[in-house]
Homo-oligomer: 403 residues x 2
Amino acid sequence: MLVVQKYGGTSVGDLERIQNVANRVSESVDEGHQVVVVVSAMSGETNKLVGYAEHYSDEPLRAEMDMLLSSGERVTSALLSIALNEMGYEARSMSGRRAGIVTDEFHTKARIESIDPEPMRQVLAAGKVIVVAGFQGVNDDGEVTTLGRGGSDLSAVAIAGALEADLCEIYTDVEGIYTTDPRIEPKAKKLDEISYDEMLELASLGAKVLQNRSVELAKKLNVNLVTRSSFSDAEGTLITKEENIMEAALVSGIALDRNQARVSLGGVIDRPGIASDIFGRLAENQVNIDMIIQTSSNDGTTNMDFTVPIGELNDAKRIVDAFIAAEEITSVSFDENICKVSIVGVGMKSHTGVAATAFSTMANENINITMISTSEIKVSMVIDEKYAELAVRSLHGAYKLDQ
Amino acid sequence: MLVVQKYGGTSVGDLERIQNVANRVSESVDEGHQVVVVVSAMSGETNKLVGYAEHYSDEPLRAEMDMLLSSGERVTSALLSIALNEMGYEARSMSGRRAGIVTDEFHTKARIESIDPEPMRQVLAAGKVIVVAGFQGVNDDGEVTTLGRGGSDLSAVAIAGALEADLCEIYTDVEGIYTTDPRIEPKAKKLDEISYDEMLELASLGAKVLQNRSVELAKKLNVNLVTRSSFSDAEGTLITKEENIMEAALVSGIALDRNQARVSLGGVIDRPGIASDIFGRLAENQVNIDMIIQTSSNDGTTNMDFTVPIGELNDAKRIVDAFIAAEEITSVSFDENICKVSIVGVGMKSHTGVAATAFSTMANENINITMISTSEIKVSMVIDEKYAELAVRSLHGAYKLDQ
């Protein structure tokens, strides 16, 4: 089997942990697998380098930041390779460039454009382990680029795709994806497998583990992703395409998003195209709208409520104010004390009654639902933030996720 | 003027010092010069990385050491470039690879084979400062290599040669080359200029500043070298070809080498080729012989005395023991309490009496000379180590180097 294993900053956080990673890699080799390892910088290293750069400039040149930051992963890859060779496992480190990773030209947030698998194939064919410095590639001019947050995961997924690897294991300090946040519901269970689309909807549950960008890339390249812990032997969670999942659960997990605010627009003038104008302007300004409710009033105006991430609330306010100044909206109010609870499961596609169970569970707990949105595999509800934990625990029980 | 400036580890030892380097570079730009900067790793950084590698292996793979160690210079080059850009001086960092530096395949002690000056010429033509990560290049396979001790100096000299720079300034924490070690003779004076050959003979005086490998390369490439301090505005010492030196001093400096031991062989069998056998065997084993004296005895045997670096004394003992076992040498004794004092100056070529002054100075101080060797520009004497400082000070005065 050809396996790509990615170890994050915590997993390579000090010299002992890098040795621990070498041990895990050697076990995979002993089991007969070909292994490509992708490593992050040792934890704290990237922040240290960013701090150095900020000593000189509030806005350091992006190309230089890439030259600077890419060094952290190079160090880890060399150290891991040294540890493996010392243990008698032939290994070879590769920078992003050596691994054939070509990106676009956008320094500090580049996108991988292509990977030439040949150099890696040759090293694998020689029976060696490859240790790739994650998070980096080169642009067409041959300059080092970095991939932004979660970049090493992207390196691993893209390499797995290019090499048509059987598996891409993402190692962190978390054992996998849980049915809900175990800090809220201690009865939360680790999922054995989950589809790409469910994972994307459960983003908040995987936030510490996987960014959506990586899951999307895995889906696109049809890479079987496993998230697991480098500190235990527990099997992780397999993220794969829906057809690969043997028994799709009705509901896979309950996600909670506390990071949303509600914007309520009153007296919105009722002319054709007004909604398109408002939400178009918000989109142009990179404000991410999630849920929208529109209700007509008697006086020829409408009310519109929508949710935005709290961090984008100020931008939203600024844009709405322009519509108020133009007398197309009468009033606006904001509520940050809300949260969004989501029930996610591919089983919903073929089963009815999932949403009804959610609503009755909320009713039994006397929790008022102020907004609802549904997709093929998700039901999301906006509720008062003070009921967040209660809602998650009740739903977790109602769908028997603890069993 | 096109100037290559190399700043060593102490000069870029912390963030403030890198800012100080940026200030110095900006002054050169303001003076109208084109500037290529070559930087070392921040002091301590390389040792830290070596320590990391030694955690895993007593003999880490050399190719991986190069991947590991080359990161230190990359960090410094990016930081200096960020600092310069923030000050409004357009700058661009370059790894050894980007700077076109191609080496042979010997990892951790590679030799520069060629430099393609085109990429650097283009950046200079665009009016930018170049900041090259020193100490590194790539081999024909595109793998990172490093140049060994003093590697950043070699990078700087080779780049100056390839770009036909007017000057190559080596910045350290020392103001230049002195007539002798100021810790021994406080009246020592900084030299304004000195020839390559004198510098090579005065190696011990330049040991903290320049390795012979760099001076040899500068001589070969006809690069005008200046050693100066990054912490003061004092002019440094120009190291150039003899023809460029306006007034050649009779004697330029007094060097002291305490790192020699004397090996005395007694009863060496007097057969043709015996000296060639002994010294050939020593050379094969990388034992560097400096001075040799042979004296005949009455009994058909000879005595041979020679000096070796103390660090190679054990190797020398082992080899001599084999000749004793073969009954070609009767006895051997060793003396580590010696030192070598050398008077160096191109003026000797055209003036007589320099050696005589040295001998009479020693005689006046009642210092016994046990070995003597001379070259066109040097007189070396082996004396008892306890007279080392006295000999240096007396000779410094005798040749009026304090004036």
